[in-house]
Amino acid sequence: MANFSNSVDADGSARMARALREAFFAGLIALGMFALFVGLESGQNIRNELVLIPHPKTLTILILAVMAARFLMVAYVSPYLASQKVRNVTTGEMPTTSAARFFRLPAFIIALVLAVAMYVFASQAEQSLSPTGLAYFGMVRGLAVIYAIACFFFYFRVFVGDNFAKLAIVALVLYPPVIVYFFGFQGSLKWIDNFGIQILIYVMLAWGLNIVVGLAGLLDLGYVAFYAVGAYSYALLSSYFGLSFWVLLPLAGILAAFWGMILGFPVLRLRGDYLAIVTLAFGEIIRLVLINWTAVTKGTFGISGIAKATLFGIKFDATKTGFAALMGLPPSSAYYKIFLFYIILALALLTAFVTIRLRRMPIGRAWEALREDEIACRALGINTVTTKLTAFAIGAMFGGFAGSFFAVRQGFVSPESFVFLESAVILAIVVLGGMGSLTGIAIAAVVMVGGTEILRELSFLKVIFGPDFTPELYRMLLFGLAMVVVMVWKPRGFVGSREPTAFLNERKAVSGSFTKEGHG
């Protein structure tokens, strides 16, 4: 017995030593990684000279956080998890999932009470607390709300899982009135425009790209080109010919689909990396044409003053025949934003509907078969040329729809909106969501786009890192970090399994370990 406790002690001190050592190395790695990313900022001084602004405090906090996390992980978390595993084996009981351990009923009730109480006493808190305290107050309240919502979804996960699509559509349709009710017309702008419309544009783009990448397995790094074609189709044709949004929306889709075919032809023979490089080049060519064909596109100045969309001819402006005046409502710019929200919602749902329908049709099955094995497809009499071209064309068409919507929403387009980074973000959303899964991709878009938008709201970070800390600057860093975390945790994306398109007896999801990513 004495021996045993001795060995446990020795084990414990050895583990502490190892934890300290690993924390030190983690700190070194963090220093190496963040020294340039976070520790230094290039800026201008008053004489317009390039200067380096060091951020030692931010850097130190970050490194300490990494070291502490590594220490805790090695010293406490991993032994705890290991002992849990041993206990599960010895008791012979089914292990409770980590989710079930995390979402406990008492904790849920506490979080709920806390969130409600903090909302009830919000006005008192505003008067009595210092700005720093208020920031922490907001953070705790936010965490409590997130935890309570997560718990709610966890307890009703079966119901939510079964009716996810219906619930999501109902929630999205009700979203604008609910937001307006809580924040008023002026306060709702941010939530409907920055969060609602912005996220839905990316959802639609990612769903469009999903047809090419997720279903047909053709890696397309230049998808933003079709977005640009759609946006410029609307911008140019409405400025030069005065055509309305509703006429140009399908036209933009058709033009983008046409360019999808143009891209498709030369890349038919290419696979994998080679295909990716050529599509990347195609995206850049479109952007460079937009920059340099100044006679038509006005180059980098872009096209401004693009006509707004109308509702059956009713304009959304402050004139007598405008929407607000006709409906007898006080003038506000929020009506137009809400109108746009419903347009992009309808477009995104159209994309989803068509994708779901196509998957159950021979062409959709041929796309997925193409992703699995192109040679077998040819041996079964499938014309792979037309199959690939339709995938490119239909994917591009939805990109074109989204592009013309983008133009009408911004009222301004310039080549700067269609850089490679946009393609990369859209592709990242498709990959993170789980290639082929509409639900997963929608979740990924909310997390990635909404997550970076919410960074603007995190004022409590200023308390930790100092008042001149701007969380938005770290957008891409966090974006990359989130991607790494998700890919380690779920290598096949949020929804890795695939829903079969037909069944004899019962519909069983196909595990992601069987599906392939495609070779081209």
Binding site: L358, D373, I375, C377, R378, L380, A502, V510, F514, K516
Partner: protein, 291 residues
């Protein structure tokens, strides 16, 4: 080569004449001719590297032969010159289906979906090339239901009905082999080309395969051309055997005839260098005797 007569066949489904395939300096197939009779099981055998799979790839359009003519004659009469057609048209129009030596299933699709992909061209027409189906016309729904019935029929024959909703990649090896054959049959072929269907199967699975091939022949009247190393399969089910060595035909006839052909025995068992002359003498003597 000159000594081996091409067996005369009444109603050939496939006629291969003077087929040659050259890869750079390598003559993979050299002036190879044979015929496969309608409704028969024809086996193509030979040692490793003899060029059997190359012949298959030429027939199914994956390779374009350097020389020669490959004619497929359907039951209804139309003839197709396969060497002039792209691979997918050979399956779609000439109705030649094939399987692969290394199984090529759509592993992430379910067993049923694999069989539905094989009916692509029929369903494409029924769905008005997607447009009518997308708009919800009833013609496509009827065709889709029919395609599931066809799939069910072949799943039943391949004894895979209870695995219909599982991913194809999840099936054991023997089942995957039979699924690949069932999938090829869903294209409604006149000629089914099987590349080593029994490779890697245990004896029981081999028997199940034999049953499936016999069922295909008797029920659908599809002619079968197969490459096989497993002699128990070849000798038991085939009506006609063609032997290939170094890209040339060395024997052609019934399983019994081929089994006793000294050239075939020499090719399979191998002979010492100093015995070559002796063997040739025996072979020539044998041929003289046979004629």
């Amino acid at each position: 080569m000159t000594g081996i007569e091409t067996a005369m066949i009444q109603d050939p489904v496939l006629k291969v004449e003077h087929l040659s395939m050259r890869f750079g300096g390598l003559m993979a197939i050299n002036d190879f001719s044979f015929e496969a009779a309608r409704g028969n099981i024809t086996a193509l055998i030979g040692p490793n590297g003899a060029g059997k799979t190359t012949v298959f790839n030429c027939i199914t359009g994956f390779y374009k032969p350097t020389m020669g003519m490959i004619t497929l004659r359907q039951k209804a009469g139309p003839e197709f010159l396969l060497e002039r057609m792209p691979d997918f048209e050979i399956t779609r129009d000439a109705k030649v289906a094939r399987t692969f030596q290394n199984i090529r299933l759509f592993s992430g699709l379910t067993v049923l979906e694999n069989l539905l992909v094989a009916q692509h061209n029929m369903l494409m027409k029924a769905s008005g090339y997607t447009v009518l189906g997308l708009l919800g016309f009833s013609g496509y729904k009827k065709a889709a239901a029919e395609s599931v019935d066809i799939a069910r029929h072949w799943l039943d024959r391949a004894n895979l009905l209870n695995r219909a909703d599982d991913p194809a990649g999840d099936l054991p090896y023997g089942d995957q082999r039979r699924l690949e054959i069932a999938r090829a049959m869903c294209t409604g072929p006149e000629l089914l080309c099987l590349d080593e269907p029994a490779a890697g199967l245990n004896p029981r699975e081999s028997l199940a395969l034999n049953d499936l091939l016999r069922t295909i022949r008797t029920e659908s009247g599809t002619s079968i051309l197969l490459i096989e190393h497993d002699m128990s399969v070849v000798m038991e089910i085939s009506d006609h055997v063609v032997v290939l060595e170094y890209g040339q035909k060395i024997s052609d006839g019934t399983p019994n005839h081929v089994q006793n052909d000294p050239k075939v025995i020499a090719a399979y068992l191998g002979v010492e260098d100093d015995e070559v002359e002796e063997v040739i003498a025996v072979v020539e003597g044998h041929e003289g005797g046979a004629l």
